[in-house]
């Protein structure tokens, strides 16, 4: 993985000093809250319902064991012993004191981490496929490019006060695990006819109040132009994006209002006029960064692991764990292991300090010191030998980290909602917990199969509800929490936005409504091979609507 050199370390140290000075000036009253707010936001510090919240960047979701241990340390020393992994592959602490944050940032800097640009109207932490560098279907590891963009966008003098936040996501595989089509810019690695690497470029996707799927604006961008082209897009956005209404300020609205053609012309004109030489990526530089991401030297192994098969034959729970939580690796005899942060009834994405340390230990012992955070709020050990899975599993069980539910109905994405977030209109976590408890991880969940439920506590859609197979949006109606359901969304390469079923459901009725949707699907699917999303795309809304709203007719609710 990427290691800071002296320059990077000096940069972060600089920034910590700068922000520490701003905190000091704020505490001494030299800066007003209005003046301080953009600075604290630029450094990931929010003021939430109960306290400050600190959002720490995990660039493209990659962590080492040492970094994970440091997060655990911070959780214990400066917070309440836990943290929350987010849909942006970041980590949030819910209770740090402002006066302690300079110290926290100093600790983070020791392990090459920071909170720069995890908030504010700037280019945010760059995200990437959490299976990058390991997945069997990958063309090339997207993280070197994510790292290049991360560096270039750090305290960018021109792009620190954009109309609104700006999110970049990259994937190196045709299967999109990074939801690039719902980002401001999505880059997908591809090869052209002559075998050169480049990017397919998507612009103008996003969720929030007005969800939109990105438009493809380029079929092949040579790798060397990545930074220059990004600058062209962001400059057009900075100059022309709306600033009169924050709900219309994202680039998706600009693309929509300008029209795709005109927008593309503007980007191309800017790109043509700019000094590209200055921003060109020399191949040697790409290779220098790539070297950091070279895959670990994995021992050659046979495809089939006897140790794994022996355990699988006798231990049903382990068999189900392997079935659900292990994905194909490039190297034979290896797998990509997803560790669920969705134990039944738990808070999605939350991990205790002790759990973080357990994962760090496993990464060191069995997984070449690499950990990933997925935007689905789970952790990943990208390089594990199948032979080691029994031992890893036993360790995970001890720490309540062995839930075998990846991709199943209880693997719910859920934002913090009204339990923590000052923008929330309703709670989201209790809904996730009750759905999880209702369906559990047993036979029923297995019968339902692949299902992504995504829950947001307000229209900002941090819980990605628009792209949930079942999306749930918590709203407030006359002082009461109510939950709107959408069906048929998807954040993968077949990206689609969910359709609203109709009137929302009360906190009391929401689990029953999900049950009704699931029952309708199971009854109407063409066998277990047809997953929910496929069935919904075939059946449409009608049978679900009927089941949901006629069920309630005359019922006492």
């Amino acid at each position: 993985m990427y290691r800071y050199d002296e320059f990077d370390a000096a940069f972060v140290a600089d920034r910590v000093a700068q922000f520490s000075d701003q905190v000091k000036r704020r505490l001494e009253g030299e800066l007003t809250e209005d003046q301080f707010r953009p600075h604290r936001l630029m450094n990931g510090v929010y003021l939430q319902l109960h306290a400050y919240m600190l959002r720490i960047a995990v660039p493209y979701g990659t962590l080492s064991a040492r970094q994970m241990r440091k997060l655990a340390f911070i959780a214990r020393e400066f917070d309440k012993g836990y943290g929350h992994f987010t849909t942006r592959q970041n980590l949030q602490f819910n209770w740090p004191a402002l006066k302690d944050i300079p110290a926290v940032l100093t600790h983070l800097a020791e392990v090459e981490m920071h909170a720069i640009q995890t908030s504010g109207n700037c280019i945010r932490n760059v995200t990437a496929d959490h299976f990058a560098g390991a997945a069997a279907d990958e063309i090339e590891d997207p993280r070197p490019y994510a790292e290049i963009l991360r560096q270039w966008s750090s305290i960018h003098p021109e792009f620190t006060f954009l109309p609104r936040k700006f999110k970049l996501a990259l994937t190196g595989a045709p299967a999109d695990r990074a939801a690039i089509q719902v980002h401001d810019i999505g880059y997908q690695l591809t090869k052209n006819a002559s075998g050169e690497t480049g990017f397919i470029v998507y612009v103008g996707g996003g969720q929030g109040r007005t969800p939109m799927i990105a438009h493809k604006i380029k079929d092949f961008l040579p790798v060397g132009d990545l930074v220059a082209y990004t600058q062209a897009i962001v400059r057009v956005y900075n100059l022309d994006g709306r600033r009169d209404n924050k709900y219309k300020a994202r680039i998706k609205i600009l693309v929509h209002e300008m029209g795709l053609e005109k927008f593309m012309d503007a980007v191309e004109a800017e790109f043509a006029a700019m000094n590209k030489q200055e921003l060109k990526l020399p191949q040697a530089e790409v290779e220098r960064i790539q070297a950091y991401f070279a895959p670990p030297a994995l021992p050659s192994k046979s495809v089939r692991s006897e140790a794994l098969e022996a355990r699988r034959a006798t231990d049903k729970k382990f068999a189900s764990f392997v079935e659900n939580n292990v994905s194909p690796h490039k190297a034979p005899g290896h797998g990509v292991l997803t560790i669920s942060l969705k134990a039944i009834g738990a808070i999605p994405g939350d991990a205790s300090a002790e759990q973080m340390e357990a994962v760090a230990d496993l990464a060191e012992k069995y997984a070449h010191d690499e950990i990933r955070v997925s935007h689905e709020q789970n952790l990943v050990l990208p390089h594990v030998a199948l032979d080691d899975l029994p031992a890893i599993y036993d360790e995970l069980v001890k720490h309540k980290l062995a839930t075998a539910n990846i991709g199943l109905i209880s693997d719910i994405i859920c934002c913090p909602g009204l339990d923590y977030c000052s923008l929330a209109t309703a709670r989201s976590i209790p809904v996730a917990q009750r759905i999880s408890e209702h369906f559990g991880e047993g036979a029923r969940a297995a019968e339902i199969g692949a299902m992504k439920i995504k829950i947001s506590g307000c229209i900002n859609a941090c819980g990605h509800h628009h792209v949930g197979h079942i999306g749930i949006l918590g709203l407030e109606r006359k002082g009461v929490e109510t939950y709107q359901i959408t069906l048929g969304g998807s954040g993968d390469e077949t990206c689609s936005l969910g359709d609203i079923t109709g009137p929302g459901f009360s906190e009391h009725d929401i689990v029953g409504a999900i049950e009704t949707i699931v029952d309708t699907y199971v009854a109407q699917r063409r066998g277990a091979g047809e997953d929910f999303l496929t069935a919904y795309r075939r059946l449409g809304m009608a049978p679900f609507k009927k089941a949901l709203y006629e069920r309630d007719k005359g019922a006492d609710i």
Binding site: L27, L49, H50, A97, L418, I429
Partner: protein
């Protein structure tokens, strides 16, 4: 409707309530109850003084109801602010006063 005044303490962000005089208290049950508009305005003015003095930020009045168990915030958002996350009863104010 009676109200109390809430804010976040500058140094640590913890939710605090305007008490008697220029005191800020952590438990909303000890907050100064502002029964009418003039009382609320006077309370908000005192709170703004505390903002200027860099003691608190984000001042917001909170509707409360007088119930048999004492004062209760009217709105769920305020209840959560006053007590703590409903999904982690071991944290927030509720952890201390066993609500």
């Amino acid at each position: 409707m009676p109200q109390i005044v809430s804010a976040n303490r500058l140094t640590d962000g913890i939710v605090v309530f305007l008490g008697q005089g220029d005191q800020w208290v952590e438990n909303f049950r000890s907050a100064a109850l502002l029964a009418d508009k003039p009382a609320l305005e006077a309370g908000l003015a005192r709170a703004q003084d505390a903002v200027r003095a860099n003691i608190v930020v984000e001042v917001a009045p909170m509707d409360v109801a007088e119930t048999p168990h004492g004062l209760e915030p009217k709105h769920i958002r305020d209840r959560i602010r006053a007590e703590g996350p409903t999904v982690r009863l071991d944290h927030g104010k509720q952890a201390a006063h066993g609500a």
